[in-house]
Symmetry: C2
Subunit: 109 residues, 2 copies
């Protein structure tokens, strides 16, 4: 054992879990918050912003990109990163939907 039993869950559940998982690490939260904070795309200084080695940051960026949370386009010698609004919206909608449904509910706990 040890591996997640994805085959037992719906595609939708697996997909949202993957998207959520991409942000389930403080380094990746920090990257997303940095990209949000600055007012343009960032071409090339993300490594310097984080207290981790260049290979580690590169790996986190790759995970965020694979999950679709950020976009990166090659800009000459550097890479230009920014957030992908669509996937952020997906997460927002997901939790907003749960919240809305909860308000209509009677909880006993």
């Amino acid at each position: 054992m040890g591996a997640t039993k994805t085959e037992h869950f719906t595609d939708r559940q697996n997909a949202i879990a993957i998207l959520i998982k991409a942000l389930a690490h403080p380094a990746r939260v920090a990257i997303v918050e940095y990209l949000m904070k600055v007012n343009t795309c960032i071409c090339g200084d993300i490594v310097n912003e984080l207290p981790l080695s260049q290979p580690t940051v590169s790996q986190h960026l790759k995970e965020l990109k694979t999950a679709g949370l950020i976009k990166g386009t090659i800009e000459g010698n550097a890479i230009c990163y920014c957030l992908d609004e669509k996937s952020i919206s997906k997460l927002e909608d997901y939790f907003a939907n749960i919240s809305t449904r909860l308000e209509k509910k009677k909880n006993c706990c």
Copy 2:
């Protein structure tokens, strides 16, 4: 190495990452969605709803509870579970905030 370097990130970043991580698994997504779907608290049939063994489900429930996403109160012989609206709201607000800020931004990617 192998352990997350939490000491390098802010408390806020670590806290949101922990909350997000609690949902970064399809089984826990399924539990939360089940608790959202049914119209009352659920006292005792969560194990039967999931395609995983009882110890595994118990472990996932514990993680959700530790993170504050669900509440569980002892109800005689069973345990009565429901979602904790506050932590769901926290997630909703977090992503809504990012979305709002992104709209005001000029992206070049």
